[in-house]
Amino acid sequence: MISFASTFGEPFVRYAFIAGTVIAASSGLVGYFVVLRSQVFTGDALSHVAFTGALAALAAGASLLLGLYGACLLVALAIAALGRHGQADDTVIGSVFAWVLGLGAVFLTIYTTSATGGVAGISVLFGTIFGLSASQAAVDAAITAAVCAAMILIARPLLFASLDPAVARSRGVPVRALEYAFLGLVGVTAAAAAQAVGALLLLGLLATPAGTAQRLTARPFRAFWLSAGIAIASVWAGLLIAEAAPTVPPSFAILAVATSSYAAATAVTAVHRRSARAAA
């Protein structure tokens, strides 16, 4: 049995909890709109860009954070620029990110042959939240807190622009500018989430809580906040599980909690629908 006091006594656990909470909040808030706008594939593309960005930075001997945030932001804005009607063609996104990932494989080869860093690739892919240093945790927490604030600020016009872009435009909402701002926020969130759960797994923080919230309620703002709440709860529960059972990687524990909540929400709504149909 672990006690809370001893769990929070270790500095690396504190950093993981602090950074993890803010990263989860921003992933939940941004993720709600990612799911609403059917742009999960864009999030998927950014997760692979995060991997290449991180390994390019490592291979060049630069800062990992710089590579992550730089690559994700750049590609997110490029996707926004390529998009017609706000959503870039699936095949264009797919072709570009498959190639970016191929480049990642090369950086991995360069990095692992130049240094003794065979594990680096795997830890970038699958995350090392307990490995965050104090300065990394501070940077991530500050950046994602800013993302949360920006997201709350643009939530109302963005909701309007996502549900009915034509009407929103005629009412004077800057739809195109909102798209750039939103995808920029998705890019930054992807880079942050890549450190929490790993580049390959960040869809679990971006799409799963938002999908769960969308199943539980049809009201937009309730789902928006619920999504952030589920993301934070998943990270906390996951970190506690990983703390209690050291063989379980924290990324897996976080995603297992998030996926169970999604499965539970699906089952609950299916039962509801059936009983509603039986009553009618």
């Binding site: 799911v35 498959a98 999908g211 969308q214 897996f252 629908r273």
Partner: protein, 282 residues
């Protein structure tokens, strides 16, 4: 050629040829149906499948196929949600399946420790050396079965893809077809991941089809062209990988992306507006 003196290169070329035909054929429908995200997810899901097979000590091939087919069935089976639109809710399901499957892969890597983490890079990014003669036979058998099934449903599937509402009204079972298509796509992804590595299967699924559909609007011609481009991409990538230190997956995605960029450029060149000549004559 000198490189065919090695058995592993002969096997790699045989397997690559089989995989290129299968991935090209399924990829063509995938791009047409705008299911790139589902295709990518089915490819990634093979990773925990292979990792679990190694963990349990059974054949890796079984792991690839079992995981991809299971994921295809899950994606097809989860009911649509009430709140969101259909497309939005489907993409959340696919994203969840993908992230959770990869998390299971991460768990297996961490449980199995050193041996598997050395293999992880090969599973993710592909290796030329891994293909045995018996594996080529398994690949061939599965590919023939999948292509036969695809040939059986090709016509109604094309109908259901181009105009789902009319197809449904005419009695085509759209939902069942789309589930069956996802399973076949899973098979193609599982086959291809054994050559290219899990992360880069998608290059072979999406790039040749995207390039071919940019070159011609005629369905039959672009289908044949897709398979031809896929074959050339794989053959060239294997050759380049043999003579360089970089993994085959990198060459595959680079050659494929080159083809896609060339096709896009050619399309832009032939589609360019030509008002200049008209202005001169008037």
């Amino acid at each position: 050629m000198a490189i065919f003196q090695f058995t592993f290169m002969v096997n790699a070329y045989r397997a690559g040829t089989i995989v290129a035909v299968l991935a090209g054929a399924l990829g063509w429908f995938m791009v047409l149906r705008r299911q790139s995200f589902a295709g990518h997810t089915l490819a990634l899901v093979s990773f925990p499948g292979a990792a679990a097979a190694i963990f349990l000590g059974i054949s890796v091939t079984i792991g690839y196929f079992a995981a991809a087919i299971t994921a295809a069935l899950v994606i097809a089976a989860v009911p649509r949600s009430l709140g969101g639109r259909a497309r939005s809710s489907e993409s959340a399901v696919i994203g969840t399946v993908q992230a959770f499957a990869l998390a299971c892969g991460a768990l297996l890597v961490s449980l199995y420790g050193g041996f598997l983490s050395a293999l992880t890079t090969n599973l993710l990014f592909g290796s030329l050396l891994g293909i045995s003669a018996s594996q080529v036979l398994v690949l061939l058998g599965a590919a023939v079965a999948a292509l036969a099934a695809l040939a059986g449903i090709a016509r109604p599937l094309f109908f259901a893809t181009v105009d789902p509402d009319v197809a449904e009204a005419r009695g085509v079972r759209v939902r069942a077809l789309s589930a069956l298509f996802l399973v076949l796509l899973g098979c193609a992804a599982a086959e291809a991941s054994q050559i290219t590595g899990v992360l880069l299967v998608f290059a072979l699924l999406v790039m040749p089809a995207a390039a071919a559909q940019r070159l011609t609007a005629r369905p039959a011609l672009s289908f044949v062209l897709t398979i031809a481009i896929a074959l050339v991409t794989v053959w060239l990538a294997l050759l380049l990988a043999y003579y360089s230190i970089y993994p085959v997956g990198f060459w595959l995605s680079t050659v494929g992306f080159g083809g896609f960029v060339l096709a896009t450029g050619w399309r832009a060149w032939t589609d360019r507006p030509r008002p200049v000549a008209a202005e001169v004559t008037t």
